[in-house]
Each structure stands twice: as structure tokens, then as C-alpha cells.
């Protein structure tokens, strides 16, 4: 059985606090000179991966009651050994962020502002636009009469931010609809 540093902590069946005090040789007598509590104590640990560069640093998310309270590098990831750079260290701030788009936003032609819409409106309208464009512009044969079955007037950009599985279904869906002008950050 593989016993990693973090795995060992889990084996004890206790939070890091219990393990740590004795391990660090700290004084565990109840009367601390300056008593503190740990914000991550008892939080659920979930392994994620930094969404920036390709070092792929594994990051532990500390989650309590659905709230993302803290994050730090995963010491079990052999590449980073628990470390992170500035961007990785801001993983929680990236997520818990008031500047995120959290609702579908729609901008009508000529409009000066975004309008909030629900998913149903967005998906059905997008599908209609796609179908209208595709039905109008889909090319079954090229000028030479060769079967090409493609849509020349719609393109797709992105994204290297996506997971492998997301990329797989995206390529399948796009090419299935005849969209072949596909590109992303690999060409930047």
C-alpha cells in the first residue's frame, strides 16, 4: 500500500491538527500562550488542478458546508511537492470571485447593455440561430462536385481551459454539425 504524506494523515482518521502537534514537537498542553483555531480544521479536502500553466500542480481545496474556504498545493503531487506560484496560490480567489459571470447574459443586436436570461431561452435561441445558418449555408458538395458535408460560415475557438473529456465531446459535437473551422490556444 502506498502511504503518502497526506494519505498518512488521513489514515489516522483525524484532522491535520491532531497529527501535526505531536509531529512538530509542539507543546500540546491545553494552556497555549496564544491560542488559535485553524480555519481549515475539519474541512473536506478535495484534489483539484491549477487551471493555469502546464505544470499541472495538484491543489487541495478545503471545503466546509459547500463553501470553499482555502486552498493550497498538494504535497503528494511529485512535480510540485506541495508548492505553488503566485497564480496557483490564488486558486481560491479565482473561484470565489465577485467578478465572475454567474448567469446567462444576452445582448440583442444594437443593444447597449447585457440582459439576464435563463438557460432555456439561451439554448433554444442559439439552436435556432445555428439551425438557420446551417440549413442555409451547409455545403454538401464543393465546386468540383466532391462530397464535403461542411458548414463554411460558422467557426469555433477554444479552449485549452477545457478538460480532456470536454474537448472530446466538443470536437464530436462540432464536427457532427459540420463545423470544421476549429481552433484554440494551441495556435497562440
Amino acid at each position: 500500500m502506498n502511504i503518502s504524506r497526506r494519505g498518512f494523515i488521513k489514515l489516522l482518521g483525524a484532522g491535520t491538527a491532531c497529527f501535526g502537534l505531536s509531529q512538530m514537537g509542539l507543546n500540546v498542553k491545553p494552556a497555549q500562550a496564544y491560542a488559535t483555531s485553524l480555519k481549515t480544521a475539519g474541512a473536506k479536502e478535495v484534489v483539484s488542478i491549477c487551471p493555469y500553466c502546464s505544470c499541472g500542480c495538484n491543489i487541495i481545496m478545503y471545503v466546509r458546508e459547500g463553501k470553499f474556504i482555502s486552498s493550497e498545493g498538494d504535497p503528494d503531487y511529485p512535480v510540485s511537492e506541495g508548492s505553488l506560484c503566485a497564480k496557483g496560490a490564488a486558486f481560491r480567489a479565482l473561484h470565489v470571485n465577485e467578478h465572475r459571470v454567474t448567469k446567462p447574459l444576452y445582448r440583442a443586436p444594437g443593444a447597449t447593455e447585457w440582459v439576464e436570461k435563463d438557460w432555456d431561452f439561451m439554448l433554444s435561441t442559439i439552436a435556432r440561430r445555428m439551425k438557420t445558418t446551417r440549413d442555409r449555408d451547409f455545403k454538401t458538395k464543393n465546386d468540383k462536385g466532391q462530397v464535403v458535408n461542411r458548414l463554411d460560415t460558422v467557426f469555433n475557438l477554444g479552449s485549452a481551459l477545457m478538460d480532456n473529456e470536454e474537448c472530446a465531446v466538443t470536437v464530436q459535437a462540432l464536427r457532427g454539425m459540420g463545423v470544421y473551422q476549429i481552433d484554440h490556444q494551441a495556435r497562440i
Binding site: 502506498n2 459571470v101 477545457m162 459535437a173
Partner: protein
């Protein structure tokens, strides 16, 4: 990466060139410094002295866009001083191959050039062959038409004097780098090269990397511990998104996109499946039809059968010779040939060259569907600087996407490790994963086609894409499964079994796989190897820093690819201290060997199994712009003549023509300064993620331009002044950072100044500045069409009125 992050520690010399590793891949420096602790020399060749240079033994400033001259000089030095690894070069590369009669090189041009179309007829670069079509070889390397001799001739012009004049690098620096890195040609020494966008983002980007590979092959540095040619992949999953082919020119797993001329699957297979009559060549791509059919089978499920070419005809075919890379897509959009677009997690209005043209082009869309986490310069292009929203008729749909920590799935690091990440929290608001959004859009379209019919509904109605996106189920499908009970390679499988690895994929519809290189990562139900967290190693693996049981790595968990080239013909590692694999008399131990089979002296096969000839290519006839890298000046150059030939620019460039595509003249007196662009540790690419993470914006708050004290003095600019940088395409304001870390270059006897700017700052974050790419040109490498962000021409002056930055 041929190798992986940890393996950098095994190097004797680390050449970081075309990369600012400490800033853009900060964790890599953990391993670079470990190599240094072990005595390795760290060399950073880059126009700017950066945080990488600060921790290197030697920083060598180089005029941006002259990497081939620099490396060509190194190749000459290696040949002249006999530093190459002879057995490796003779046995494992095509150095011994003899060129056919048509190959020639003269004054910057290779044979077969069509000056009108700017293309080469690559058949002219073919090898001389025997009656079976196998290339002729001279293992003495003496034949004047063998690759080795032609290589010597080609780089004979790259003398230290000449290279110094062109690159602006001092002769002492050149000699020092060449000597240090050349020393890794000894069989028991290894040098690694770490590169990134500093090599790719040039009109000669692919040839920059080709020449680096050629040097590594000459020195025997490919397939060994501490060696390799290591692309520090950029975006978080650009390794995976490339493998899965979010690209026009390939299908998942590096299968070429079907051409209009390939009207049937048989024709496609014939055109894309290489053949060889050399019994010593594995020629792995002869398996390509298995991967192609398994891919189509996974896309179209039960509807894909032998009778309908597994759905091949339903999928789009592209015109041969046509280019569809993003710079061409946007040119079509600018010319109003495009109507709709999906842009997810991508900010072209900020990060593509010539932003003014990109921003203008977007106005030509009827509809734009965007998936984003934040508002960006692209989501809000219709109300950008100088744009009147009322006049923009594009309908924009912005779909909120969740972040990494809010979803399950895998990403692949630069070392090809496929790693699972777990959902920690619910998506914020009503945001969803991009995978779910694409799936739902597709099904909304599909519902309409099911109800109403329309243009070619078959591929849409028959697409085997489950309604609800599920990362785990998709991961299983990426690996692939058996569609019926069958026997493959002597093993029996039941319908629904997971495919153990791509070696079991078939071309008859019995298997699926959405990306064959990932086949083997999920080899049985409940056995998702990307989730492995096991540190178990053999002592040999521990010494290497190889973690074969942590996550999984494509292909077939091989951590260092081409590793059979790291052993001699008897199967013993060239460096006995750090073998990646070694033959113990019965089998290989260490890493997963590349291709298997016994050592070559015992009847084994050539080590470079992905090449038709089985050997690596010092001479590379596959690239569109030449078989041997040659120095050409950037599209915009401060010189009026290429000192190496009368070909100023890469002759194979396809130039984009529009009224918004302007280029400075060669040596243009209006724009005498070289501009190079880059990222920085605290921000990421176009910057929308990091600018909106305010603790990061705090550390790097505004657009700056780094310049030498000499240039600043010439222009009357003080540190901290707001300056205006102008190219023929636009103007940008930035804060001057006057620094000793940038120096003027002495090029062909004249002083050439260089300035450098990040491109992470955009107008949607108030007061930070706007896109640096308003300056850069739309021109790219003719193989990859990655734009030349790294070298263009500008001028700089103190800003009269500050309009773009908060002061």
C-alpha cells in the same frame, strides 16, 4: 515534452531558450535548481534578462527572431569539434541517408520552390531509394550526398563571426554556450532544452524547434534521462486540447483532417497510412486505420457500420491547400464570409495579433455564442473603445462557465500525465461546465433537426453523444470499449469491456476510442488510472524521479518517449548511471519501452517507431518551408538585407492581404525598434482570469514596456513615465520600465533597440491599459500558423496625454 518536469533534474546542462521558465512555469525551477545543485550549468538565451536569467549561470541576450542563426552556429560548432555522439547519429538518425538528385539549396532557397504560390514541391527533397523504396544509406557518413555531409555544408556558413553579427550576441557568449551544451554529446551526459512560445511565435517557429531537435539528436540527447526537447506547454490543458484536436487540421489523436479529395474511407486510409518495405521499421502509423475507425465508431455508435464507412462521409472535408487557422478564420470574418461563431474560454479580441482587425471583424458576425468565466474584451467587443454599440448588429449569447474546482475531469500536464481532478464545490450561480454547455447546445440543435429535418440531418441525428455530460463516462469512452464479443491479439473480450490499450483497437468497428493515444488510461470499469496517487517506485525509477504509478501518462504510461534511442544496440543505456530503460537479457526494465522488442543487435527494430523509416530526422522533408532550418528575418525586421541570403523572410509564408494588414518596410526608419511580447508570472495569457483575481492584479497592476537605459535616454523617457508605443497598425500606452535587464544589440555593425511588453492587460479591467496586440502583425509560421508575436517593429515616445492608464 519528450520527458517530464521532474526529469529536468537529471540534466548536465539546461538550455532555456524561447522560454522564461521561472516566470511562466515557475514550478519547473524546482527541478532546474535541483539540476544546478547537482552541478548542471543553466543557460538562458533570451532577449530580456528575466527572473529565469536571475537564477541561471549565464544569461545570453539575443535579438528576437535570430534563434536559427544562434542554433545554426551551435550545429556548426558541434560538427567542427566532433562533439556529436557517433553511434547515436549513425544508428538512430537519418544522417546516413543519401539524398536524391533533385535536392539542392542555393541562396536561401531549397529546390522545388514555386515563387508565385510561395510553396515548395517537397518531392524534390526525397531520399535516393532502392528498388523496394527503402532509403539508401552510407553509415560511414562520407558520401557527399548523405545527410551528414549536406548538413555540414549547410551550416558551414554559420560561423561564430557571422552568427554574432546577426544575433547581436557576443562571440564569447556564443563560444561559452556552444562549448557547455556541446559537452553533453558524450554518451553519459545529457542536456535538456526547455522552450515555449519564444520559439513557436515566429515566422520560422517550427524550424526553430526542428533545429533544436536536430542538435539534440546529434548530441544523443533524445530518449535519455535529463535530455529531450521539452515544450513547456502553455495553457492549462493545451497538451490535452491538442491531443483531442480542438483544431481544424487534425482529428483526435493526430489523425489528419479528411480532405475533399478523399471521398471514401478507403481513400482517406490510403492517403494517411504510411508504408515501408524496410523490415526493421515498426512504422507505427501503419495502424492509423484502426484509430480512425475506432474514432468514428465512438462518434456515431451503432449508426456507424462498414457499409457507411463508419460515418466518414458525414463528417466535414476541407479543401486541400486551404488554410483555416484562426488568423485565416478572422480574415474570412473580416471579409464577411462568416456568420456565426462559438468562442469558449478564449479572448481573441485581446490575445490575437492585430487586435484592431479582430475587434472590427467580430462586428461582422450575425451571432456569437460565448462561454466564459468573466467578461472579456471579446464578450464585450460591441462596447469596446471607440465602438458604438448601436451600430453593432451582432447578437451575443454569453453562457456562464464554471471553474476547474467546480467540475470533475482530467487535464494533461506538459509531461503528458493525464490527471483526474475532483469537483470540490458547486458551480457558482447557474454556471455550468463547458462540456455540459456544448452538449446541451448540440442537443438543442438535434431536437430541432429531429422535429423539422433540414440540411443533412444524419450526422446530427446519429451522433452518439449522451444528453447529460458526464466526465467519468466520457473518460471511459475516450479510452474506448468493445462493441461486440471478439478476439483481438489472441485475447477474448466481451461487448462492453474497456479496451486494455490502443494495441487492441481494430479497424472493423469492434472497438471505439475517442482519442487513441489516451487508450489504456481507463482499461477496465472502475479502473481510472488518471486517479492514481501511488508513489511506488523501483530503486531505478526512484533515482530517475520516475513515478509510474502516479496518474497515467500517454502513450501507454511511457514517461520518457523515444527511450529505446537512449540505449545502445545491445540494450544498455548510454548513461549507465541513469538508465531510463535497460535490457536485462530477457526483457526491458525501467520505463515502458518505446515499441518493445529486443535490442537492435538481437534482431530488434529501429527506435523511432512513429517515423516511417524508423529513424529520427536530421533531414526533415516533411515541413513546408524546408528540410533544413535556415535563418530568415522576421516579417518585420530592422535590417534591410538578410545577411545569410537574398531571401529576407521565410519564403513559404502565406501573407494575408487586407486593408487592415499593414507591414512595416524592412529597416523601416519610422519603426526602428524591435518589439517582443510576453507573459508574466502573475497573469495568464489575455489576462481575464488573473486580472479579475484582484490579489494578482495587486502584484502586477498595469501594462508596462521594458526598455534599456540607452533607449530611454535617447527618447527622453524616465522610469515610470507613460509612453506611447506605435506600430504601423496601432498605438498603445504603457508605463515605461527602464531597466538594465534589456540591452541594445549590435547587429551588422549598427545598434538595434528592443522593447518588451506583456499582453495581459485589457480595457474591461478599468485603468490597466489595453491590448498590446494592437501593435502586432497577422503573419505566422507557414507550418503551424502560430503568429509572430515575438518580433515586430515599433517606435516609442513619451505620451503627450495619458488616456489608457489610471495615473
Amino acid at each position: 515534452m519528450t520527458n517530464h518536469w521532474i526529469d529536468i533534474k537529471n540534466s548536465n546542462a539546461v538550455l532555456i531558450m524561447g522560454s522564461n521558465a521561472a516566470e511562466h512555469h515557475p514550478i519547473s525551477f524546482k527541478w532546474v535548481l535541483r539540476a544546478r545543485d547537482n552541478g548542471a550549468k543553466i543557460i538562458h538565451v533570451d532577449p530580456k534578462f528575466s527572473r529565469t536569467s536571475a537564477r541561471s549561470d549565464l544569461h545570453v541576450p539575443l535579438r528576437s527572431g535570430t534563434d536559427i542563426a544562434f542554433l545554426g552556429g551551435m550545429m556548426r560548432y558541434i560538427l567542427e569539434k566532433n562533439l556529436y555522439q557517433k553511434q547515436y547519429v549513425t544508428e538512430y538518425t537519418n544522417a546516413s541517408f543519401i539524398l536524391g538528385k533533385d535536392y539542392a539549396f542555393k541562396d536561401g532557397l531549397f529546390s522545388g520552390y514555386d515563387a508565385e504560390k510561395h510553396i515548395y514541391d517537397r518531392k524534390k527533397w526525397d531520399f535516393a531509394r532502392d528498388d523496394k523504396g527503402v532509403s539508401l544509406r552510407d553509415k560511414t557518413l562520407k558520401n557527399p550526398r548523405c545527410v551528414f555531409q549536406l548538413l555540414k555544408k549547410h551550416y558551414d556558413r554559420y560561423t561564430i563571426d557571422m552568427v554574432s553579427k546577426v544575433t547581436g550576441v557576443s562571440k564569447q557568449h556564443l563560444a561559452s554556450v556552444y562549448e557547455t551544451f556541446g559537452a553533453t554529446g558524450k554518451p553519459d551526459k545529457a542536456g535538456t532544452m526547455m522552450y515555449a512560445l519564444g520559439w513557436t511565435q515566429h515566422t520560422v517557429g517550427v524550424q526553430n524547434i526542428r533545429l533544436a531537435c536536430m542538435i539534440q539528436l546529434m548530441l544523443g540527447n533524445i530518449g535519455v534521462a535529463g535530455g529531450g526537447i521539452n515544450a513547456l506547454r502553455g495553457e492549462p490543458n493545451v497538451q490535452g486540447s491538442t491531443d483531442h484536436a480542438l483544431l481544424w487540421h487534425i482529428l483526435p489523436g493526430y489523425l489528419p483532417a479528411p480532405l475533399a479529395t478523399q471521398t471514401t474511407l478507403a481513400e482517406y486510409n490510403k492517403a494517411t497510412t504510411p508504408k515501408t518495405n524496410d523490415p526493421l521499421s515498426v512504422n507505427w502509423w501503419s495502424n492509423r486505420p484502426k484509430y480512425t475507425v475506432s474514432l468514428f465508431k465512438s462518434w456515431f455508435g451503432d449508426a456507424a457500420s462498414k457499409d457507411n464507412d463508419f460515418g466518414y462521409s458525414w463528417t466535414p472535408k476541407v479543401e486541400p491547400g486551404e488554410e483555416y487557422a484562426s488568423m485565416f478564420m478572422f480574415d474570412r470574418l473580416y471579409k464577411k464570409q462568416m456568420k456565426g461563431a462559438f468562442i469558449f474560454g478564449h479572448n481573441p479580441a485581446q490575445s490575437m495579433p492585430n487586435s484592431h482587425k479582430i475587434r472590427k471583424s467580430l462586428e461582422n458576425l450575425d451571432w456569437l455564442v460565448m462561454g466564459e468565466v468573466h467578461l472579456t474584451e471579446t464578450t464585450d467587443f460591441w462596447r469596446g473603445p471607440g465602438v458604438d454599440p448601436k451600430k453593432v448588429n451582432t447578437e451575443v449569447f454569453l453562457l456562464p462557465c464554471c471553474h476547474r474546482g467546480e467540475k470533475d475531469g482530467t487535464t494533461s500536464n506538459s509531461g503528458r500525465w493525464q490527471m483526474w481532478h475532483y469537483k470540490g464545490i458547486e458551480p457558482m450561480g447557474v454556471s455550468k461546465s463547458m462540456g455540459a454547455i456544448y452538449t446541451e447546445i448540440f442537443h438543442a440543435v438535434r431536437d430541432l433537426y429531429a422535429k423539422e429535418g433540414g440540411a443533412l440531418p444524419e450526422p446530427i441525428l446519429n451522433l452518439d453523444l449522451p444528453k447529460a455530460y458526464d466526465a467519468d463516462k466520457t473518460a471511459m469512452k475516450v479510452n474506448g470499449w468493445f462493441t461486440r464479443d471478439c478476439e483481438v491479439n489472441g485475447k477474448k473480450f466481451k461487448k462492453g469491456d474497456q479496451v486494455p490499450s490502443f494495441a487492441f483497437l481494430t479497424d472493423d468497428g469492434a472497438t471505439t476510442s475517442m482519442c487513441w493515444v489516451y487508450s489504456g488510461g481507463y482499461p477496465a470499469v472502475g479502473k481510472n488510472l488518471s486517479q492514481r496517487r501511488d508513489h511506488t517506485q523501483t530503486p531505478m525509477q526512484a533515482k530517475l524521479g520516475l513515478f509510474p504509478n502516479f496518474s497515467w501518462c500517454w502513450p501507454v504510461n511511457r514517461r520518457i518517449i523515444y527511450n529505446r534511442a537512449g540505449v545502445d544496440v545491445n540494450g544498455k543505456a548510454f548513461n549507465p548511471e541513469l538508465p531510463v530503460i535497460t535490457w536485462d537479457g530477457k526483457g526491458w526494465v525501467g520505463d515502458v519501452p518505446d515499441g518493445g522488442g529486443p535490442p537492435m543487435a538481437q534482431g530488434g527494430k529501429y527506435p523511432f517507431i512513429m517515423h516511417t523509416e524508423g529513424l529520427s530526422q536530421i533531414f526533415g522533408p516533411g515541413r513546408v518551408d524546408g528540410p533544413l532550418p535556415e535563418h530568415y528575418e522576421p516579417a518585420e525586421t530592422p535590417l534591410t538585407k538578410n545577411p545569410f541570403s537574398s531571401q529576407m523572410n521565410n519564403p513559404a509564408i502565406r501573407w494575408i492581404a487586407s486593408d487592415m494588414d499593414k507591414f512595416a518596410k524592412h529597416g523601416d526608419p519610422r519603426y526602428p525598434i524591435v518589439l517582443t511580447t510576453y507573459s508574466l508570472t502573475e497573469h495568464w495569457c489575455g489576462g481575464s482570469d488573473s486580472r479579475n483575481t484582484k490579489v494578482l492584479l495587486e502584484a502586477e497592476p498595469q501594462l508596462y514596456v521594458e526598455m534599456s537605459h540607452e533607449l530611454a535616454k535617447e527618447k527622453g523617457i524616465k522610469n515610470g513615465d507613460v509612453v506611447e508605443i506605435e506600430s504601423i497598425r496601432g498605438k498603445v500606452q504603457a508605463v515605461a520600465m527602464v531597466t538594465v535587464r534589456i540591452v541594445p544589440f549590435k547587429v551588422m555593425g549598427k545598434i538595434v533597440h528592443l522593447v518588451g511588453m506583456p499582453f495581459a492587460f485589457g480595457w474591461t479591467t478599468p485603468g490597466v491599459g489595453d491590448s498590446t496586440n494592437r501593435l502586432t502583425p497577422t503573419v505566422g509560421d507557414p507550418n503551424s500558423y502560430i503568429p509572430e508575436y515575438k518580433a515586430s517593429l515599433v517606435n516609442v515616445r513619451k505620451a503627450v496625454k495619458v488616456t489608457e492608464l489610471e495615473r
